[in-house]
């Protein structure tokens, strides 16, 4: 198959399959409420999509020629960053679909869930590959629309609605600001094509304003502190599979969109990268300090996403400022490992939430006390959760250690005093983060089981399987981190081309 067509299919298939999944799932459920076709259709779509992405990705990896595709007004470019984002979102999305089957089985509207999840995966693949500013905005908005509905999926719960409203209002304001920035850039350069803007964008006050609007607008989605206030609510109230997607890829997709837009304005000022480094420091500190005082497990994990966004920004920012390819590759490697670890952490927390609360029909949040002694009854889930949080804390030999290590080494290699200071700060933050990760593991293994754990329901096999795969991935990538080089290397080169010219 022609790789260009394969990539077009990889972007289009989930988006166009989404309404079909909804309709067929709805009809099947109406005829027989026990039948749940939507999830299997979604899984099939994603597996087929993975095949198409593999064809297109292999072509790019082997020839290192960017694939340029234009259909009507839609123009796509498969480069390293697009491939990395697409691979991460598709892999995590497939596992989440598998996991979500039992998790939402008793909720009404599960066809909506799977249809929107599939559509969201397609729009993120498109977002990563968008080749002009307006395409970027449309994919970004489409991704946001899917996620608004998914966050408020438990639509009869006051807390989920509150989180959905906060998310929608803040996010919608962000997209308006991006739109204004596009208007400014368009008026100044006469184009919305990223390549033409790269050449035409010259330093001026209006272009600086446009860049600032891009940072604020995309920064809401990417959860840059202080634009993060929606994140802990949305990530903790969404269904667990969606929390995994939001933390694992959606905020990173916001960052990728921001990098594309700022990369096109790289002639305007050299300080975009430095700004990213500034946000890196604030994100790490605020995320960790807020996570330390949380009592709900999913809320704690949501705040820890903020600090991990900081590490990613540190790697990517050092790549953009100094042009350090190793550092940028570390940042992208951390996007990959964070998606795996945070995805795993949310899935494991979701499995416990399901078996302890949802399966007995209550919508209480999972608090840290519920973890006490859970390893006796749920050994696999407890193990998966421990692997995830210890990896997030950066203990060797887990994947999180390797990606942080690469970011730190890359930062030191730049030789810049500021970046070295930032690396030391990040390392200290990593130690600080163990202050909330380690007690969770302690509770799982060294406490007496609480009553709620003893009365818990069993965890279905389909929920355990994705956790097993992700745990294995976290351990394997921790031992052989070079396994991901084929994905992170080209992404880093693409980033340097964005900011280096």
């Amino acid at each position: 198959m022609n790789p260009n067509n394969a990539f077009l299919l990889a972007v289009g298939l989930p988006v166009f399959a989404s309404p079909v999944i909804y309709l067929i799932g709805r009809i099947a459920t109406r005829k027989n409420p026990k039948v749940d076709l939507a999830r299997w259709l979604a899984l099939l779509t994603l597996l087929a999509d993975g095949y198409f992405l593999l064809i297109a990705g292999m072509e790019f990896i082997q020839t290192r020629h960017e694939l340029l595709i234009a259909v009507g007004a839609v123009s796509l470019r498969l480069d390293g960053i697009a491939l990395l984002l697409a691979a991460v979102v598709l892999a995590l999305g497939t596992l989440v679909t598998l996991f979500s089957g039992p998790a939402v089985a008793r909720d009404s509207g599960r066809e909506t869930y799977f249809a929107l999840l599939t559509a969201m995966i397609g729009t993120i693949i498109g977002l990563g590959a968008a080749d002009d500013l307006f395409n970027l905005w449309v994919w970004f908005e489409a991704m946001a629309l899917c996620s608004y509905v998914l966050v408020a999926f438990y639509r009869n719960e006051a807390a989920a609605l509150e989180a959905g409203v906060k998310y929608l209002v803040q996010s919608a304001l962000g997209t308006v600001l991006v739109l204004l920035a596009i208007g400014l850039v368009f008026a100044n350069t006469g184009s919305v094509d990223l390549d033409e803007i790269r050449i035409a964008a010259q330093p001026s006050g209006l272009m600086l304003a446009a860049g600032a609007l891009f940072i604020i607008g995309f920064g809401v989605k990417a959860a840059l502190v202080p634009l993060h206030t929606w994140l802990p609510d949305a990530h903790s109230q969404a269904p667990s599979g969606i929390s995994a997607m939001l933390s694992g890829v959606v905020i990173e997709a916001g960052l990728v969109a921001m990098l594309r837009a700022l990369g096109a304005l790289h002639l305007v000022t050299v300080s975009w990268g430095a700004l990213l480094l500034g946000f890196a420091a604030v994100n790490m500190l605020v995320g960790n300090l807020m996570a330390l005082r949380q009592t709900q497990v999913k809320r704690l994990l949501a705040y820890s996403s903020l600090s991990h966004m900081g590490y990613i920004l540190l790697g990517v920012g050092a790549g953009a400022v100094i042009g350090s390819e190793y550092s940028a590759a570390g940042g992208f490697f951390h996007i990959l490992t964070h998606a795996m670890m945070k995805g795993l952490a949310f899935l494991a927390a979701g499995a416990l939430l399901y078996s302890l609360h949802q399966a007995v029909g209550n919508h209480d949040p999972l608090v840290v006390d519920d973890l006490n002694g859970a390893s006796r009854k749920y050994p696999l889930t407890a193990f998966a959760f421990s692997v995830a949080v210890l990896g997030l804390g950066g203990l060797p030999p887990l994947a999180g250690f390797m990606s942080k290590w690469q970011i730190f080494v890359g930062g030191f290699q730049t030789g810049s005093a500021w970046i070295m200071a930032l690396v030391v700060f990040a390392a200290l933050n990593s130690v600080l983060s163990l202050g909330y990760y380690a007690p969770l593991v302690n509770r799982l293994y060294r406490c007496q089981p609480v009553r709620i754990v003893e009365q818990g329901k069993p965890i279905p096999v389909l929920m355990s399987l994705p956790m097993l795969i992700l745990s294995l991935g976290v351990v394997v990538l921790g031992i052989w981190p070079s396994l991901a080089d084929w994905l992170t290397g080209p992404a880093a080169q693409s980033l340097l081309m964005l900011f280096g010219g």
Binding site: A73, F134, V138, E141, A142, L145, Y148, V149, A152, R155, N156, E157, A158, A159, L161, E162, A163, G164, V165, K166, L168, V169, A172, L173, T175, V176, L179, L180, I182, G183, L184, F186, A187, G190, V192, P232, D233, S236, Q237
Partner: protein, 103 residues
């Protein structure tokens, strides 16, 4: 003294954005917040059309604006659907009562 058309449109854009942001900052009613967001988007839309006009690419500017109309309508619909659900479950549309998650 005559005011040119672009100047008028720029004033309108700034006015819409100003009113939108002011409304967003002052109102605490969910439906009014959605209306404020709509005002902001309308301002941005007008800015896109104006940008197309100024750079001599009216077709591009207008097609961008039409796409924005579609996307923005969906946001409004989802926002209002959420508002209906908020009213049913929580019993009020006042955002000040939506603070159970703050800690």
């Amino acid at each position: 003294m005559t005011i040119s058309i672009p100047t008028t449109v720029i004033i309108m854009v700034l006015g819409l954005i100003g009113i939108g942001i002011y409304a967003l900052l002052t109102t605490r009613h969910l439906l009014k917040v959605i209306v404020a967001l709509q005002l902001l988007v309308k301002g941005a839309m007008l800015a896109l059309v104006l940008a197309g006009r100024l750079t001599g690419q009216e077709d591009l500017g207008q097609s961008l604006a039409i796409t924005v109309i579609i996307a923005d309508t969906i946001v409004a619909v989802i926002g209002m659907a959420l508002a209906v659900q908020v009213r049913r479950v929580i019993g009020t549309l006042d955002l000040r009562s939506l603070t159970s998650l703050r800690r």
